[in-house]
Subunit: 352 residues, 4 copies
């Protein structure tokens, strides 16, 4: 951590600060410049927050973190890719994993029809929302426990593990009884109570990036879950909010190599929510796999014109089938050329 002092900060203030940080077990290295002086802190600075340090003195101009504030999620301390196992389905470490299904569970027939078709196309897991976080209190909020029951039956029929969203800590126990992967949605990425509660289960967690969360904040949300004892976190890039209005969100494709450089957890991409328009799902999905994503989570609906939510971004099963075929070929080619899933930083030790 580097502390930049304000121009004119007195020597005594820098000494006061040095003593304070030394008493916390850090070593302090001052560099005195003509206008600005800096203090370099060496040691276990990851547990210090910028705001705590900033509060220490009025003479502090800025604080610059050198080491990222996460430990358990950091690739620095865990260079190998983590591979998450969901009932035999593997995510990360070079595996290519597809999760597909409707936005919302609407009926037994709907879920069974879609489940069988996506399985035939090569999907490994089934997604479907039983509790829906909706921006309007007047919108369909999901079938709730009835929806969980339908998902469980779909698993029994198809063998595919189930991914569903969990929206509040009270429901974690109930939902965990029915499904295999708990999804924390973008709007709850910094719902720290929910993160702690799912961290106390033994279920894999699919953690979506918040609409305006930085990459570091996403990894810190994973750290929250891991700090409670659950190491099985799958990160999901699903688009960020920008000034562009043509697309619903802007898929941050560079988040894939960036996360893989900083963190050992698998990264999947949700091209459906990123685009908000079904005809962009395929190009974004292919881009994601080409950039090194470990898999996809895609909304598929057999009758999108009748879907109760997000039909506009759902693929029909036949388009999903074509998408899977295309991305598998991209991943295969890629693999021969240069090991798609190994980040350049790790592969070449980060050197040109």
């Amino acid at each position: 951590m580097v502390i930049v002092m304000k121009p004119g900060a007195p020597q005594s203030e820098m000494e006061k600060l040095s003593k304070k940080f030394e008493s916390m077990g850090l070593s302090v290295h001052p560099t005195i410049g003509e206008n600005y002086s800096i203090l370099g802190l060496v040691g276990d600075t990851q547990l210090l927050t910028e705001s705590e340090v900033a509060a220490s003195s009025s003479y502090i101009d800025r604080i610059i973190r050198v080491q990222h504030p996460f430990k358990l999620a950091s690739r620095l301390f865990h260079p190998e890719d983590s591979v998450i196992d969901v009932e035999g389905v593997k995510i990360g470490g070079g595996n290519l994993t597809f999760i597909a299904g409707p936005c919302a569970v609407e009926s037994r027939d709907q879920v069974f029809a879609i489940a069988e078709q996506v399985k035939a196309s090569g999907a490994h897991m089934l997604r479907g929302g039983a509790y829906k976080p909706r921006t309007s209190p007047y919108s369909f909020q999901g079938l709730q426990e009835e929806g969980l029951q339908i998902l469980k039956e779909a698993k029994e029929k198809t063998g595919m593990p189930i991914v569903t969203e969990i929206i509040t800590p009270d429901l974690v126990e109930l939902v965990a009884d029915y499904v295999d992967v708990l999804q924390v949605g973008a709007r709850n990425m910094q719902n720290f109570s929910l993160l702690r509660t799912v961290g106390q289960t033994n279920k894999p967690i699919l953690l979506k990036r918040g609409m305006s969360a930085t990459i570091e904040e996403l990894i810190m949300a994973a750290e929250y879950i891991m700090s409670e004892g659950n190491p099985n976190v799958i990160l999901c890039e699903r688009g960020i909010r920008t000034f562009e209005t043509y697309t619903r969100n802007t898929l941050d494709i560079s988040a894939i190599p960036a996360i893989k450089e900083l963190c050992h957890l698998p990264v999947i991409v949700d091209p459906s929510h990123a685009a908000g328009r079904w005809h962009m799902v395929e190009p974004l999905a292919k881009a994601a796999i080409a950039a090194g994503a470990d898999g996809l989570i895609v909304e598929v609906h057999h009758k999108p014109d009748e879907a109760l939510s997000d039909g506009a971004q759902s693929l029909k099963p036949e388009k999903f089938n074509r998408l899977i075929s295309a991305v598998r070929q991209i991943a295969a080619i890629d693999e021969d050329v240069h090991h798609r899933h190994v980040p350049a930083q790790v592969r070449d030790n980060g050197l040109r």
Copy 2:
């Protein structure tokens, strides 16, 4: 609501859609253009979501909402300002209300010292965090119930009602027993379970705008609370996330007149979180009042260099005192000139 059809959409598709919307009790007005045709929907379209409509046909290019999706919070149906009463303290409708106190409750002595000083300066309510949402799981998470107890005693000593943040639905009952206003933080603005739960209490709710929430989304979050039966919502602008890195967030000052035009609820401003730097708190606070805010929520700490959180943005009590004096004069002047708190849209019927 206006539905724009894709170029080349067949007549039969527009008829199919018209029938569908007519069966929902809406009237449909088509306009046929050379390249694009549109359907204008008239009636109670507020409960329709764009995504539901978009899913109705592959031939839909875009959907444009004419009427905002909120009802209970809308000024259209409630032209008068709402005035929220918190144990006799009034917010909205021309009142100028100040909430002040430390970021986090650290000790009885700290809270009592700050409470007495801010009360002397003219604060109407005391803020203080007992449960702290922190981006790092390793940071101080608040004194929790012990903190609530300290806040309650501070109210007994000073008479000031208490505002504190509530971070999860399970704690609503407990926290509501101790305090007077429940704050929903920026990260939880779309934690819909929490919104519903606080909507079922009879406590006033201070609802902070999410870091990347639009003005419409903020008002929709208020609608969530109100739809459960609690009309006492105070909105709070606290800065949005932009590309600018010099400030922690960018205070969206135009949100004040914009919200007042669309919504009848009071709007206060948090200049401390917006800036992230104490020396910007005063200019932002003055700007907020000049732009028509109904009040301020300000972090004050008697020993900011020792604060356990956010000391860098806390004012010392003497600076808070000066700030209150300055903004009171702005509000007073202003009032004479043109009724600061009445939005131009309402005052002049929106006409030049």
Copy 3:
């Protein structure tokens, strides 16, 4: 174009507006709702700007454009892909085109060395900056005319056409004498004088998207050039500015299918400026081709540790070679599966 009137707008005002627009040759279709009324304008509304219409009446609440404001660049009126020919090198229409070279021309030896290596890897054109737009007035500003001379000689040696940036209208004639493609940089995307001047040449123009330009604004900038008589515009996505600080810019991968849907011009991607870090160039380049880009413009430097500008994002020739090999295979596969370069909207008439 749809005009939404304010609640309570008098009938007479709508009639006044209707007459005004009818006198401009448009037909006007009113829809009267309970709270809001709208006027649908049919006819040649592309030349109307929102701001002109908004000024027509105080009773206008909002204006919504149905048809995009561009004509010459619109795919609606020109469904086939444009193919730009640069001295025999074709861009667009299914061709895959690579432009490579150093950020800045530094010396004859540097340019010749890099040119030969990128040509051997399969590059079709050589890029190199002779006039450099730099954020600091104290940075290296380019070799200027001497740089143009070196680029011209490199073309003579290798046969590769030359792309270089033009930063001001006065230099257009001089630069056009030396090179084959004039590049308009991101910071000049809305330098309308420059757009007009390059529109009056007969050289192909490589137009980069501004850092905070919308997709519609980028296409409108192309329309500026085309409206002066030069139809040969190549669009370039190079990343937009967001709140994310880990990457220099956020590559907007969805801009590729979005532009292809709206516009018939070719779209290439600059992964070097988007990432700002060389080890992200390859994943972004592969993503771009997978998403349907018509080509790439990549910074290559044989000695990046000694580059005078942007060395941190330059690839060494051997990494560029590997990148070309990988993206060619992605493009080839892709082609078999579903015609990568034909946008879904066009291919399937936009229907699921």
Copy 4:
């Protein structure tokens, strides 16, 4: 400047870099951490760009600038406010200056009518566009030299100095013959050729912040002008581009105290372009003055419903009159309380 080396960077690489920077006259202070090591550079690092340094070694992880990259514009080296004199009108240093007039010059009658009314309300300078940068090539582009002539006559009639926008270097000489202040628009803030050319005149320059320019980039654009010998730069905040769509731009009110802390140049605010809606102009104007702005530039039109551009954001003269009266009272009050125009950082030496 602080250079953070990658984990595992060899000692020899740090020595190579140290020698390189020492040979440039800097002193180098290494701090060796367990995972990351850093090099602190002391000396005249302002002329070094991050990209030049980043290119020096593959082992560099990040570069952190401690000192801002501007010198002539920096308050560090020029603690007193600059006061710009425009034909006797003073801007900065505690003066409150109003610039008003139509968006575009449309006719002699229009300009004269507006000029006399804004003068009567207390405006000090007249604005009006003769060359209009328009996003559509088909929009009204301004009366050009005829417009300049009208502005000159308006000055002769009213005595008010004239501010007009300059859009390309070729026109600088011509425009400078007619007017008193040259405005560089937001879209040209990084048109470096234009910045250099206006830097070579002796006219004051009104420099608008780009829509996605950081505060540092705005000050660097001023540095460009100043580095050519023209110290008379007035900065103008006019809103930045964010995800919010309700307003045209988001006025960055915190830019006012931020710029004043870093830079000695005057800062004015354009509330008309920030809001894009006339009824928000007054609240934003008052906020700007309350936050410490040195003045305002406001669009006024006597018949906004007939304006050829931006009528929707123009005030009628009577509303402008009320606005001036309100902000003068805010400024007056303010002055008594705490010297509105002196930044807190300077006033209190930046200390709480």
